[in-house]
């Protein structure tokens, strides 16, 4: 389908639509994008998930098959279906569980929540100099091959070569796909997570973080503050200069565990600082708000214009009415794609367009990336994509 329309023209139209959506203006059409992760691999169906973590070029056929059958308005590089397992292996990293190594060959890779890389009494050291703490403490704890040994430097070089190899293959594939189908990469860069989330995910575990909030609240707040400039730099460094829609994806999942008064005290200040810095620096943060954000709508309304939100759950009508400062998506429920049929999917999505597109800042997306083929029936996704493509471009 995509082939009959000039890909260069499509590319420009899509970039403009995303820009307008981000700026809360009326785009010519409502952008449609679903991060398909492992779903795309199963949809292609030729190899085990595990194979893609080792043979990076396999993903080209997956993405070609995906966008040939399912025209979408943006590529989502920061939601890859595969991860470079040899890179993690070279460093001896414990940070992911991989299919074929730790999980069944067809189970999506996962991030274990139970490894502690910073002890409760180490907050002051971290706050004083986070980078030094990473180098001296948390990185060697996380990566057995980066602990002091004669082979440490060699392992580091091996890891650096592997991640460079992965990136060059992955990004050249993305470029080819972008040119062939006229789909701009959106959500290009990413920041691993928000500031307080970072303390939970990468240093303390969520459970310990929650206990720390009770036992050593001031240190927790100071640690979240200390990580902000590092996260900002990490996200922004992917761009030589701000692009048309320089989107930086940031998944968030700690805030909604907190009651609103704790959210206000522990989560919001460092998070807001990060969001405002990214926006003021000319970037577009795309926050993936996991779980239900309804209790925090009032906080979100404080943000300056310029961020895009993918909500997993929120009171959509309240968000539409009260969050006039940000663009959002996430309204296409997985249940609809999983249990519905093409007619039902199209009619529900069209009614969402009718309802929310007048606000300007609205894009069509599922509340979460698709992790397995059972998350959404391929015929439903294909029918929806075809309907939208014909409506918007034919």
């Amino acid at each position: 389908m995509a082939k009959v329309v000039n890909p260069n023209k499509l590319f420009r139209q899509r970039v403009r639509a995303f820009g307008a959506m981000r700026d809360l203006k009326q785009p010519k059409f409502t952008p449609f994008v679903i991060p398909t992760k492992e779903w795309a691999i199963e949809f292609y169906g030729k190899h085990d998930l595990a194979a893609y973590n080792y043979n990076y070029s396999l993903i080209e056929k997956v993405l070609d098959h995906l966008y040939d059958n399912i025209p979408m308005d943006g590529l989502t590089p920061s939601y890859p279906g595969a991860k470079p397992a040899p890179f993690f292996d070279a460093l001896g990293a414990k940070t992911y569980k991989f299919p074929g190594r730790d999980l069944d060959v067809n189970t999506a890779s996962q991030f274990p929540q139970n490894n502690i890389y910073m002890e409760a009494n180490e907050y002051p050291e971290f706050i004083d100099d986070p980078i030094k703490f990473f180098l001296d403490k948390s990185i060697p704890r996380k990566h057995s091959n980066l602990r002091e040994s004669p082979r440490k430097e060699l392992n580091l070089i091996k890891g650096a070569m592997e991640i460079t190899r992965y990136r060059s293959i992955y990004y050249s594939i993305l470029l080819k796909i972008a040119q062939k189908y006229g789909i701009p990469p959106i959500f290009q860069s990413s920041i691993p997570t928000g500031p307080l989330d970072f303390i939970g995910d990468f240093l303390r575990t969520l459970t310990q973080l929650f206990i720390d909030i009770k036992r050593q609240p001031e240190e927790v707040k100071a640690a979240a503050d200390a990580i902000v400039p590092i996260l900002v730099k990490y996200g922004e460094s992917a761009f030589a200069k701000p692009a048309t829609v320089p989107a930086i994806m940031v998944p968030l999942h700690v805030g909604m565990f907190l009651r609103p008064k704790d959210f206000e005290e522990f989560y919001w200040p460092s998070f807001k600082k990060m969001a405002v810095t990214l926006i003021n620096d000319g970037f577009t943060p795309v926050f993936h708000g996991e779980s239900d954000w309804t209790p925090y709508i009032e906080f979100l309304s404080e943000l300056p214009k310029g961020s895009i939100w993918l909500f997993e759950k929120i009171d959509w009508d309240r968000a539409d009415e009260e969050l006039t400062n940000l663009a959002f998506g996430g309204t296409i429920p997985l249940d609809l794609l999983r249990f519905g049929n093409p007619e039902k999917v199209i009619s529900e999505v069209q009614s969402q367009i009718d309802k929310y597109s007048p606000r300007g800042g609205f894009f069509l997306c599922t509340p979460m990336p698709l992790m397995s083929i059972a998350d959404a029936k391929p015929e439903n996704v294909m029918a929806l994509a075809k309907y939208l493509f014909e409506k918007n471009f034919m």
Partner: protein
């Protein structure tokens, strides 16, 4: 005095409640009574959680304090009481392919306060492990947990196998996960589902009382 333990625990006054426990032990208080007060404290935490005064961190911190108290009591309990093994009536675990356990752990700490016998199987469990334990322990209730959407099909696969083995009739099944819905509940063949846990606790309590809790 002992009753104060419940109040202090539910207020999450860690230092004060630990001091009080130590003081009571020195005065020769029956450790069993202290344990009972801890259970009551966790139940109060569960209530405050249900009323949305408390969120997940408060429940986790409450469980942590309870654990600290139990650690203090353990040496005395071993000498004092013949630990009566409770029948494991609730079997709970995270299904195949999913390694997440926060939701499961919260439910477990609150159900323990309700004095249910609970058997925690762990995470990323193939159906065979569940089937084997169901045969061995004959639980009344099976709780299946999952954070990721891929857990839906693992839940379905497991429940289908439970039916094939002829074990489905005697067991109530509740599934827990943020993405679950009535449709997914029907699809996998469970009796009930919960997105946030507090209604899950209620469903399980109802089942235990009259065995006709709300289904999906």
């Amino acid at each position: 005095m002992v009753e104060n333990i419940s109040k202090l625990l539910s207020d999450l006054e860690e230092n004060r409640v630990l001091e009080l426990v130590k003081e009571l032990i020195q005065k020769g208080e029956n450790p069993n009574k202290i344990l009972e007060a801890v259970g009551n404290g966790m139940r109060l935490i569960g209530e405050r959680w249900k009323s949305k005064e408390y969120f997940t961190p408060e429940v986790i911190f409450g469980a942590e304090i309870s654990h600290e108290i139990t650690e203090i009591l353990n040496p005395i309990l071993e000498n004092n009481i013949n630990n009566e093994e409770k029948k494991p009536i609730i079997l709970i675990g995270t299904v195949k392919g999913d390694i997440h356990d926060i939701g499961k752990n919260i439910i477990i700490s609150l159900l323990r306060a309700e004095k249910f016998g609970i058997y925690d199987l762990g995470v990323d469990l193939p159906p065979e492990v569940f089937i084997e334990k169901i045969k061995e322990l004959k639980p009344n209730i099976l709780g299946l947990s999952g954070l990721l959407t891929l857990a839906v099909d693992s839940m379905k696969e497991l429940i289908d196998k439970i039916s094939e083995e002829g074990l489905r009739e005697n067991i109530k099944i509740i599934i827990g996960g943020p993405f679950l819905s009535e449709k997914t509940c029907n699809y996998v063949g469970a009796d009930a589902y919960t997105n946030n846990g507090d209604d899950g606790i209620e469903i399980i309590k109802n089942w235990m009382v009259n065995y006709n809790g709300k289904g999906c």
